[in-house]
Amino acid sequence: MLYTEKVMDHFMNPRNVGEIENADGVGEVGNVKCGDIMRIYIKVDGDQIVDVKFKTFGCGSAIAASSVATELIMGKTIDEALALTNKQVIDELGGLPPVKVHCSVLAEQALKAAIYDYATKNALTFKGLEGYDPDEDHHDHDVVDIEF
């Protein structure tokens, strides 16, 4: 199969789908042109992420990566959340096909963007955000096409 069982599980039964009303931070990355948009909402209490939700427009692995990323950081501190790498997302999903690796990057970046939003709104600084540029483009698709 194209995807692992883990990916399919998170795609078919995504955790933490939805919005948080009055979220403390919202991050959105991707664009419609490329066919992936990920939006992550976080609720923060002290330095802890007490709630996280996502909405994603994108392929199966984009949805699964969003789901897994929210699960991984739920209840974590902001510093812990900032330490999340796309590699961890991939591992948690049991692997992603090479052309889908960018989905895991998007998830990492969407989360960073949400924390950045929270930090900006609250004039906070986090070590994990050093050098973070919210306008960078994180797309790295390979170009491969097949049609029939």
Partner: protein, 392 residues
Amino acid sequence: MKQIYLDYSATTPVKREVIDTMLPFFTEVYGNASSIHSFGQEAKTVLEQSRKSIAETINATPDTFYFTGGGSESDNWALKGVMRANRKKGNHLITSKIEHHGILHTCTALEKEGFEVTYLDVDAEGMISLEALEAAITDQTVLISIMFINNEIGTMQPVKAIGEIAHKHGVLFHTDAVQAYGNVKIDVNAMNIDLMSVSGHKIYGPKGIGGLYIKKGIRIQNIIEGGAQERNRRAGTENIPGIVGFAKAAVMADEALESHREKLIYLRDKLANGIMATIPYAKYNGHPTERHPGNVNICFEFIEGEALLLSLNAKGIAGSSGSACTSGSLDPSHVLLAIGLPHEIAHGSLRLSIGDFTTEEDVDYTIESLKEIVQKLRLMSPLYDKVLKEGK
């Protein structure tokens, strides 16, 4: 779980009758058709019978039909072969923006060899303009290659009129009929076709076998050189089981063409109408009437095609998508962009293609499932917020 195959435009199952025709040629009449012993001569005989059967279905003589390894090889051969062999005449080729990659990527390769290619636009329904076509012809134009039926959106071009324009200007006309053959009646003479690509696996025949019709007298170079098979034009030991199976499938398709079309059109319209009636924010792509009898192509706003396909697959339904995400490419299908769809809509496309084994229940179940799936994915989509909040 019940499996519902709605991807006949990608490939078809091989019909029982076709396999039964092929089987003896694997183990009994297995000779090399170029050998003079009985094993070989028997193979040679069925080879030429198969060629004749297929030629008849397109109103051609057997000596104009050449077997290849598939539709892509035929496309490559037609374009490279004709352009390279006619350099003295000119270096210009005209095609369209919605061709299969077998044509488009061949054009790119030809451009690298120094040929010039005009890519014609299509309108919102996928039709080329005959005026634009005629206007594009120069004294350098050697060949026009326009596909008969588009593989994604099903639009059927006015092939006969294209051929007429080509011939009026002394230009050759190739058509990629991989999706058309077996689904519409083709008469290469009446339709002014000089070269035509076809493929076995789209008409319930085997994979790895195709053909190229080449009208007599056309200058064409080989792309596969070697032995003298196919009258010195396409080397390689003849794939007799494949050829026999292709011919059987072609004859079956030709004989049942009318009932096949009627059935497909009925189910296609039922499916398309059912979806359009129950799912909002959807766009039916392609031409309303001039289209493949089994092709349904619809874009669903706010969601992405691969997610749609995976969800359908989880319900046992096999469809296809022009979505970029299925392929890892950044852009959605060149065909959907060529008909003017914005990226975000083009990303949400679904192709369901109906075939001889599709049932009315399959169609009903698909409409039902699709409705649920689209709704679920939309609720997950940040793009759908607007609609939810503002009622759009």
